[in-house]
Amino acid sequence: MSLKSKKEPQPQPQRRVFKVIVIGDSDVGKTCLTYRFCSGQFQDKTEATIGVDFRERMVDVDGELIKLQLWDTAGQERFRKSMVPHYYRNYSSFQNLPAWIEECNKYCSSSGGIPRILVGNKSDLKEKSEVDTNTAQRYADSHCMPLFEASAKEDKDFANIEAIFLTLAHKLKCHKPMMSGDYPSMKRATVLSIDKELVRKNSDSYCANC
């Protein structure tokens, strides 16, 4: 089913497509996270993402089968400016979260609040520290985003990763339709992805920003 064909009325119920954009600093694990969700596997060896990678998976949201389109973006600055307008027709590490949020708002504001979630990846790498989670939680709260911690690496965390994307799918399902959307069955969301390690490293600048 193509995007265009969704414009035409169809007898059978349309399968809806939700578009999810995953953004965040380079090397935080966006590719691993989306790959884990779509294939169930941990991709041990990744290359830096150049441009944008497209993945998808069907999910069941309250009995409705929905196609989640995941747009796994490149973290480095150079690619943001060139690519971003294209995948947001509709964008960390922690230090850079304000910039990612700003970018996200820039491209999303017209459609009135795209659902967002914040993911702290690589949770396997750290001994959980109260302060970090709190800091991240406060930040997420102040931007009305749910916070998840996850590990793309740990097999046992797969259910958790599924929960992340399912939560998003639920949020999208409840989200009011976009005003300007040319694809009525298309909904969009953003996953802001950070590396838990970097939460620690950069929480100072976070403090400076809130």
């Binding site: 089913m1 193509s2 995007l3 265009k4 064909s5 380079s26 090397d27 041990d44 060896k45 990744t46 290359e47 830096a48 150049i50 441009g51 944008v52 990678d53 497209f54 998808e56 196609k67 389109q69 490149a74 973290g75 480095q76 600055e77 150079r78 690619f79 400016k81 060139s82 690519m83 294209h86 001994e127 520290s129 302060v131 970090d132 390690e197 620690r200 490293k201 950069n202 929480s203 100072d204 403090c207």
Partner: protein, 396 residues
Amino acid sequence: MAGINLSDRKETLFLEALGSPVIDMNNLRKLCSTGIVETCGIRTICWRLLLNCLPKQRTKWPEALEKQRCEYQQFLNEMIIEPGLKRCNAAPGLDDHPLNPNPTSEWNSYFKDNDILLQIDKDVRRLCPDIAFFQNATAYPCEPLVSPTSRLENLRKRVERSVLSSQNLTRKRLGISNLISSRKQASREYDTLEEGQEAHWEVVERILFIYAKLNPGTAYVQGMNEIIGPLYYTLASDPNLEWKEHAEADTFFCFTNLMGEIRDNFIKSLDKSGSGIEASMNRVLCLLRQVDPEVWLRLDSLAIKPQFYLFRWITLLLSQEFSLPDVIHIWDILFSDSRRFDFLIAVCSAMIILLRDEILTRDFSHNMKLLQNYPLRIDVNTIISKAKEIYHNLRN
């Protein structure tokens, strides 16, 4: 067997072409345009010649190589060894962090360089994950940098320290002393290497760092690692041991010359210029529209934008689309064309056209995945013949 005779014959032709006192570049280009033979280190000579890293006069080779290698050694001294020695003598303390209110300009640029270094480090560790080569130790490590007795700050220590110092900084600013454990995150990566050894990816890291310092306008952009990877791999696998030993310096010059031709693709501010990435992507689409309007229209109507696949194809000279041997084969032919990146445009168009049946019948999702994961079943030689066909029709 005919196959063996043919490749023997090809080898002879190459050896003849490379043996003459003044290399006939037109003849050599023609030979290379069907792929370079795998034997006798012929490829590394041809690539150096095609990338203007060797003069046409054979007698001038030793002198030219010597000069380049000395020059590289100077860069290495100036940009890595001397600053590393200074750092190891510097007193650790308060001025050892970027928030020092009175930083000297030297410190400033040191910390700025660290940002570049950290980005390079992230990327070179992830270089060519399909093969073990880059994780293996090089037989030619840079002695002053890896000697176990040296206290000099090499790039490895520098990466480790800058990770640690930003953690310490966090601790200081938050006033919480038990917040962070100073785990030596970087060190675990080197566990497999013996003392005094260096992985190939560390050599690549050094070349990229020096390139970034010498070219502050572009510095380092993700994807440059994917350009230098096949060059370094080829030069560092040279059967000619004398040249293999200098793979690092020689790769630096091949890379610099190649970047001179494709740099604009990496520079954001040139995206919209005539030489930028958008112009290149448009050239592929124009060619496609000319050669196969139906496929062009289909991609257009599915809203599959060139940014979603051509951006990577062109920026990386296809290095992420194929296996390393195939990439090297394609590069033989790209480098052999005097208007080499025109030929790349034709290769990209050919790659799309060869998928026409699927593109015309399948949906957005399918086609996106198809173009982002180029199917293995299509042989690179098929792609190259198709590209040549398009290219020659175009020029006539």
